[in-house]
């Protein structure tokens, strides 16, 4: 499925060394099946740290880890008969992918995927800007209802930050899994390349979305058979975040400031490029030529909030005042989207918005498999640890039961819910541990972005897993020094 030669090379190395008792970087004992070292985050499939200058791969490729790489080794090993069936331990797996002893359909490579993007933009290692800490991580899961994972996730580093792209295949289209894969891979590579070439983040975001749209449209065999998907990208660069989206996959800002879980002043934080009707594409002021985004038209980002506004029927209904948010979410059309990538999408006009956080936090990019259960930024923050996290109420059982979202994420027209949402969010941030999901760990996303991504996916699965679930976690600002990765750092929140 992957055509990424880098991923192939990585896989080859992983397959050649099936059992690695210790991490080659830090020496920590690791267990079979671990993709990353629990201690230092080194990607265990990677070759041992190379002498600088050795190897033909460009530095960027070493840091660009694609979704397909994490589990491809397992798949290939299974195909070669070396990986036993996870159900019964049987060694024979037939060509259709079923165990010849117990019949289990072997996990597909995309069923569950975890990715970590090491700090430093080069091969992870002691010299590479410190210790293999992750500057971004992501997880994607098939969920409990669908037979395959049609979401896709790609992470990449550029010279001054991180790129994350999440795409959700449209279930009513043909080959949606191919569409999302093409969108994520194309856009992540394009974003990293454009940013390295000095392009402005908003301009790069728009260009990458359009290139992804072209890649997805090219998959169509005919207009009647058009693979399609949603799209959301996030870029960190300097002190700013830029998001771009088409459809209903989302980006959130989760503030690390304790108690600051919601903005109360929406007018100050709305992306100015988004029109008040909430559905207009942003095609203004691309800021071309700036190497550093100007702050003139950039929203300041304080408390936790949703950064994107869905291209969805529900969002339109709410924006027009036809339905309340709760009514819209409960409607059968709630998940009908009004914009997507695909040959039948017409002209694609990505929304783009840039924000300048006023303090540290986490940029979260996800598909609706996560936000269906946790639509409010405060809900998401409550699942995670760290300074801004902490328990809130338990997971909301589906969007249908969702009431007002926290302020700052509601589309125009739901603004009068802001004070209540803010109050609730602020209140829950002070709640005791008993208010949170019982026994759940809440990793600090700044210290353990992979753990945070894993935790969010786990919560969506526990809440029902009705859809594919994909989440990317980007600590902001990127950890400049090796972060604390010992479990004690999160235990204080239990």
């Amino acid at each position: 499925v992957t055509d990424d030669p880098t991923a192939d090379a990585i896989e080859g190395a992983a397959a050649a060394k099936p059992a690695e008792p210790t991490c080659p970087v830090c020496g920590e004992i690791v267990y079979p099946g671990y993709v990353f070292c629990e201690n230092c985050g080194h990607r265990l499939g990677d070759p041992p740290p190379a002498v600088p200058g050795e190897g033909g791969a460009a530095p960027r490729e070493g840091a660009t880890i694609r979704q397909s790489s994490a589990s491809l080794a397992r798949r290939r090993a299974a195909a070669a008969g070396t990986r036993p069936c996870p159900e019964c331990g049987g060694a024979a797996i037939d060509a259709d992918g079923y165990c010849e002893r117990c019949g289990l359909r072997q996990p597909a490579e995309r069923d569950h995927v975890e990715i970590g993007l090491p700090a430093g933009g080069g091969p992870a290692g002691p010299d590479a800007n410190g210790s293999g800490a992750l500057v971004a991580a992501g997880a994607s899961d098939r969920g409990r209802r669908y037979s395959r994972n049609e979401d896709a996730l790609a992470l990449a580093a550029h010279a001054a930050g991180v790129v994350a792209v999440v795409s959700d295949g449209v279930g009513s289209s043909q080959r949606p899994d191919e569409a999302s894969r093409a969108a994520a891979d194309t856009a992540a590579a394009e974003l990293a390349a454009l940013l390295d070439a000095g392009r402005d983040p908003e301009d790069a975001t728009r260009a990458a979305a359009l290139k992804a749209a072209d890649a997805v449209a090219a998959l169509a065999a005919s207009p009647a058979e058009a693979p399609s998907c949603t799209y959301v990208s996030a870029v960190t660069r300097g002190g700013a975040l830029t998001v771009g989206w088409v459809g209903d996959s989302r980006a959130y800002w989760l503030s690390a400031g304790r108690g600051g879980t919601a903005d109360t002043v929406r007018e100050d934080t709305r992306p100015d490029a988004t029109r008040p009707d909430g559905i207009g594409p942003d095609d203004t002021e691309p800021n071309t030529g700036d190497t550093e985004p100007s702050t003139g038209d950039m929203a300041e980002l304080g408390g936790s909030r949703q950064l994107t506004e869905d291209d969805s029927w529900a969002a339109i209904m709410v924006a027009q005042g036809a339905l309340t948010e709760a009514e819209a979410e409960a409607h059968p059309n709630a998940h009908v989207i009004t914009a997507w990538l695909g040959a039948d999408a017409g002209e694609v006009r990505p929304h783009v918005a840039t924000f300048r956080p006023t303090g540290p936090g986490t940029l979260l990019v996800c598909s609706d498999g996560l936000w269906n259960y946790f639509p409010a930024a405060a809900d998401l923050a409550s699942l995670l640890g760290g300074p801004g996290g902490g328990p809130a109420e338990g997971p909301r059982e589906g969007a249908a039961e969702g009431t007002e979202a926290a302020a700052g994420e509601a589309p125009e027209g739901a603004g009068d819910s802001a004070p209540e949402g803010a109050a609730r969010a602020a209140g829950t941030a002070e709640g005791g541990p008993e208010g949170g999901p019982a026994g759940a760990e809440r990793p600090d996303p700044a210290a353990d972005p992979l753990g945070a991504a894993r935790t969010l996916v786990r919560h969506a699965l526990d809440a029902g897993g009705r859809d594919n679930i994909t989440v990317a976690v980007i600590p902001f600002p990127s950890p400049p020094v090796p972060p604390r990765t010992h479990p004690e750092s999160t235990e204080q929140h239990r």
Partner: protein, 451 residues
């Protein structure tokens, strides 16, 4: 057999099980498509015709005359080059043509001589069907690779050998040739002939009017010569932790094959299907699997159409299909019953209800007979099986077809009852109209973003 026909296997099922669900049902349709079938002339075939010449065949004498005429028609139908023999059966079996046990190639000359020999048949003695089958088996022994088809005509019960003798003969002959069975008159036993036909993978029919016998023999002979592959089997693999509950043929007739299983490979058993021509047959497979967690998918059965090889040889696989199981907490998925599974389940139950009802009626158990035949009326109505419905109404008075309230008729023509009994296993093809379950309807001009 220089070439194999193109076989396909299609599986109809609802793979979704509720949490804790165990039983997986599927209809496996096996079809051989025409264009790739070898020309019949290229296929080796051997036909043995077995005519009952017990004394009862001359009461009335028209039975024997009809049997001789039908056998002559069958002989005329034989294509040049097909090998054949004719056997007469009473207390023991005897060669009619050729004189010594063996097969003769059909030519104009052999056909004429065979027809002359048939004219000389006289009826006397008893009925010992097992001995007739043993002679047929001896004759077929010379042609192990050919299509081997016997046609057996009788008018009586197997009175002149013990049930054990018949069972032993069936055990000996099973898998060695296919035998279609025909009954004439009303003194034979439907259940007995059905058992013989089932063991030998053939059909059973009641030829009520002997005037129809010749046409039926012609049809059987033509069908035998239309076969393209001699011995195929359904090979069913199941997970180590699973139990295969049953394998039933459900089209063209209901026949439980479960008892015919022979272990053939690791976790797999073969169910012999006999010879196959340009035809399709449907099978109902039921597997019990240990419950899995929601989201898990397993192959509950791997069904292959095979030509089993000689001992030590690999079987030739003609087609394969998967029976799957996936656990879901979505009741909309798990509660849906595949229409073909439902249709054939109903028809299998219909056959059982008729047979049990008639058996109870003959034993004088009026309550059971009324209940079972009443149930049959309901099932026949549901299946839209008008032929069975009409036949049932000759045996019972229907008070309420919806609830199955019936009264047994006082005077029932024996031939009507035997027709109903014989036809009870014949099914009408169930067509599935299942809509895709994993894809949501497209909404125009907007679309669902859900996967």
């Amino acid at each position: 057999m220089s070439e194999q026909p193109q076989f396909t296997i299609k599986v109809d099922q609802n793979k979704y099980l509720p949490a804790g669900g165990r039983e997986v049902h599927a209809i496996v349709s096996v079809e051989a498509t025409g264009p790739a079938l070898p020309s019949p002339a290229a296929v080796d075939a051997a036909v043995v015709i077995i005519i009952d010449t017990s004394g009862s065949m001359s009461y009335p004498d028209s039975k024997l005359r009809a049997a001789v005429a039908a056998a002559q028609t069958a002989v005329d139908t034989l294509r040049d080059g097909v090998e054949f023999a004719i056997v007469s059966g009473s207390n023991s079996a005897a060669m009619v043509f050729p004189q010594q046990p063996g097969l003769v190639k059909a030519t104009e000359g052999t056909r004429q001589r065979a027809k002359q020999e048939l004219k000389r048949l006289k009826a006397s003695g008893g009925t010992a069907i097992g001995s007739w089958l043993r002679l047929a088996d001896q004759i077929f022994d010379a042609r192990p690779g050919a299509i081997r088809q016997a046609i057996l005509l009788t008018d009586g019960k197997n009175q002149h050998e013990t049930p054990d003798q018949l069972n032993a003969a069936l055990a000996r002959c099973a898998g060695r040739f296919v035998c279609d069975c025909r009954g004439i008159g009303t003194d034979w036993e439907v259940a007995e002939l059905r058992r013989i036909a089932s063991a030998l993978l053939g059909s059973v029919e009641f030829i009520r009017d002997t005037a129809d016998l010749a046409a039926d023999f012609r049809a059987m002979t033509e069908a035998a010569m239309g076969k393209a592959v001699a011995d195929v089997a359904l090979r069913v693999w199941t997970p180590k932790t699973a139990t295969l509950k049953f394998v039933k043929q459900v089209m063209p007739s209901v026949d439980d094959l479960s008892g015919k299983r022979t272990e053939s490979a690791a976790q797999a058993g073969d169910y012999p299907l006999g010879a196959w021509g340009a035809e399709s047959r449907d099978y109902h497979v039921c597997v019990e699997v240990p419950p899995g967690e929601v989201g898990k998918e397993v192959r509950a059965a791997w069904v292959k159409l095979v030509v089993p090889g000689a001992p030590g040889e690999e079987a030739q696989v003609l087609a394969t299909g998967n029976v799957l199981a996936q656990w879901t907490d979505d009741e909309a998925l798990s509660t849906k019953i595949n229409p073909r599974v439902a249709g054939y389940t109903g028809q299998a139950e219909l056959a059982q209800a008729i047979q049990e009802g008639l058996e109870a009626r003959n034993k004088g158990d009026v309550d059971t007979a009324t209940a079972r035949l009443g149930r049959a009326v309901v099932l026949a109505d549901q299946a839209g099986n008008e032929e069975i419905t009409a036949l049932l109404r000759r045996v019972v008075d229907v008070v309420d077809p919806a609830t199955g309230t019936v009264r047994l008729k006082r005077d029932v023509d024996k031939a009507d009852e035997m027709t109903l009994d014989t036809r009870s296993t014949k099914t009408v093809r169930t067509r599935g109209a299942e809509t895709p379950t994993t894809r949501k309807d497209e909404t125009v001009p907007t679309r669902r973003g859900e996967g």
